[in-house]
């Protein structure tokens, strides 16, 4: 079983602060991390390998420092890692990103299951997985929460939808995106850490991928960000005063006055 996990290095922005003076994101002290959703993808890849044998190859497109992220996933179970890095890849939207990833996966030749996280925490689009599937011309299942069985060229998975779960059967090769419910990623092992330190991570450039520069990076992107701004929150709420009972009474009165709830 040849498993490919696509991942992205992202700023660990969950505790992002905004500098009130300059109104910009405070970057100091923000470490880059492996996109949290991608750690579930990696873990699931490693579990599939442990269950069915095979190899897990991690791929990331990014600047040279994204190599750290790839070393990190080697420490938690990836067998090999490849960095797709070239100044021509910069500024890519999801279309150009998935094109680049697809070229790299085609270059690998052998793949059965390609796993991505459901979305990144910086871009939040969740589009690279499905777009990648289409570029490779293979089936796609989103939001997988459990891999039930892999047998005879087919895989049966459970995936989350709004009001429940669907059980879906897909032929291999296939692309799936996974949700965090699928597993609890392991911590690096000592052996893994040693392996990560000594691992050679090849860098594939635009030339090695043989991509048309008009299909990657900013020039290969169909969309363009033309403006970025901070969301405005206008606050005109009211903190209810008084003791517990009068707070409760005042709330219920206000909701009734506004006809939000019924009653006397």
């Amino acid at each position: 079983m040849n498993i490919v996990v696509c991942l992205k290095q992202v700023p660990g922005t969950t505790k992002v602060n905004i500098d009130p003076q300059t109104n910009t994101l405070v970057r100091q002290g923000i470490k880059n991390i492996v996109n949290p959703f991608d750690t579930y993808a990696l873990e699931e890849g490693v579990r599939i390998k442990e269950r069915y044998e095979g190899k897990v190859t991690a791929i990331s497109m990014g600047p040279p420092q994204a190599e750290e992220a790839l070393r990190e996933v080697i420490s938690t179970g990836a067998d090999e890692a490849i960095l797709l890095s070239d100044s021509a890849f910069a500024g890519a939207d999801t279309l150009a990103t998935s094109h680049t990833l697809a070229r790299a996966i085609n270059k690998l030749k052998q793949y059965d299951i390609i796993i991505c996280g459901r979305q990144t925490i910086d871009g939040d689009t969740g589009q690279v997985g499905p777009e990648l599937a289409e570029m490779l011309g293979i089936p796609f299942v989103a939001y997988v929460s459990k891999i039930e069985e892999i047998d005879n060229g087919y895989m049966r998975v459970k995936r989350m939808v709004e009001d429940g779960h669907e059980v879906i059967e897909t032929p291999l090769p296939t692309v799936i995106t996974v949700v965090k419910e699928i597993n609890v990623p392991r911590l690096p092992s000592l052996r893994g850490l040693a392996k990560a330190r000594s691992a050679v991570i090849p860098i594939w450039t635009a030339q090695e991928l043989g991509v048309d520069k008009n299909m990657v990076g900013l020039s290969g992107s169909a969309t363009r960000v033309i403006r970025v701004f901070f969301p405005q929150r206008v606050h005109h709420g009211e903190i209810l005063q008084g003791d517990l009972e009068s707070q409760a009474n005042s709330l219920i009165d206000k909701l009734r006055e506004a006809k939000i709830i019924s009653g006397s």
Partner: protein, 393 residues
């Protein structure tokens, strides 16, 4: 391609530093340097008085041209009934079509759908309806191929769809086949009066930043929009429109994946997305058993039960109750947040609710910033008091 900094022109004044919304610029030895992550938004170029920063625009092909006309809304159904996001998109789609002076079409795949006239009443000029038993359960492959065929045939300039699990799963595939741009989870869609392009605004970085995105040369311009972002309009029964039945070609439109079964796991009677009132709990609820208290309040008020992320992560409530960035977007008449601090990711899923009540013992909790009414106090005292008062009346 990209951004170029002319170090000879740069005087190291630092004026540009605060212009970068991502904080990527720094001054080293009196010259400006750019860290990785630039989106080429152009803010620094404008801020520089010395023309030291240059954003090179891509060599744009001429605009895709006038062969693409019309605004399309993909209307998602479940068991033959259209989701309310379809009507929400219809109301914004109507405005876009009117601004462009073009037609508004609805695309609907499913089986036993009888809402075509209603779609017209809500603003559609044409309804393309593909009806077949195979289309009733949401099969990504069939929808992908079906929509691509229609887009290639009729060439709309704009296609919008709900950012539901189905929409977020198959619409990117349609965009990839058509090699066009797609903007996920838009909260704003406008037409640029000068260029006629669709201005697609969406939250990014977990809702910390808003970005406006265009798709200049490829067609159609495609966006997904989360449910409850736009308001459903009012129907006009006198509106005239055309219902066009599209054949389902079994030979061409096939599916490689198979839906084997569906497991319904909503435990309460009222579905979150349809609820007028939502009682929601966060980390402050403390443990799984304590959610019973919120369920009791929900029961008294005829409300649905919601949750922020921590209770779901800890297994106190199922994921289907989660509200926020990676859960559901809701817009009820009343949202009661109990023991929820109000992380941006949660706010992203509920801040457009008509009225928000926050109950939290931390007066500095960010949830109070979006609350219409706040009670600073212990939810284990406040909620029982509310239940008692509501029951007594």
């Amino acid at each position: 391609m990209g951004i170029q900094i002319d170090l000879d022109k740069c005087v190291g004044c630092g004026e540009c530093l605060s212009s970068c919304p991502f904080g990527l610029l720094e001054i080293i030895a009196e010259k400006v340097y750019l860290r990785e992550g630039c989106t080429f938004c152009g803010a620094c170029q404008e801020a520089c008085d010395y023309q030291a920063i240059l954003i090179e625009a891509a060599a744009e092909a001429p605009a895709a041209g006038d062969s693409y006309r019309g605004v399309w809304v993909f209307a998602e159904q479940r068991n033959g009934k259209l989701k309310s996001v379809a009507y929400e998109l219809l109301s914004r789609g109507r405005q876009l079509a009117d601004t462009l002076g073009t037609e508004l079409c609805v695309i609907c795949f499913g089986h036993g759908i009888n809402e075509a006239q209603q779609l017209i009443a809500y603003g559609a000029d044409k309804v393309y309806l593909m009806d077949a038993p195979a289309l009733s359960s949401n099969q990504d492959d069939l929808y992908t191929k079906g929509l691509v065929e229609l887009i290639e045939k009729y060439k709309p300039e704009i296609v919008i769809a709900g950012a539901t699990s189905l929409g977020r799963s198959f619409i990117p595939r349609v965009a990839a086949i058509l090699k066009t741009g797609l903007t996920a989870d838009c909260t704003g869609l406008e037409i640029d009066p000068e260029t006629g392009l669709l201005l697609q605004t969406r939250p990014t970085f977990g809702g910390n930043i808003m970005a406006t995105i265009i798709c200049q040369t490829k067609r159609p311009q495609m966006s997904t929009v989360r449910p409850r972002v736009f308001k459903k309009g009012t129907p006009d029964g006198r509106r005239k429109g055309q219902v066009i039945r599209v054949d389902f070609n079994k030979q061409r439109i096939t599916s490689r994946t198979k839906l084997l079964s569906f497991i319904d796991d909503i435990i309460e009677a009222v579905k979150l997305e349809d609820a007028n009132i939502i009682v929601s709990g966060g980390r402050g609820v403390g443990k799984a058993e304590n959610f019973q208290l919120l369920e009791e309040l929900a029961g008294v008020m005829g409300a649905a039960l919601g949750s922020s992320r921590p209770p779901v992560d800890d297994g106190w409530v199922p994921y289907s109750h989660q509200v926020g960035q990676t859960g559901k977007t809701v817009c009820p008449k009343l949202y009661i947040a109990c023991g929820i601090s109000g992380a941006v990711q949660h706010l992203a899923g509920m801040q457009t609710s008509d009225t928000i009540v926050a109950i939290n013992n931390d007066p500095d909790a960010p949830i109070f910033e979006v609350a219409s009414y706040g009670i600073v106090g212990d939810l284990f005292k406040v909620v029982p008091m509310l239940i008692k008062k509501l029951k007594n009346d």
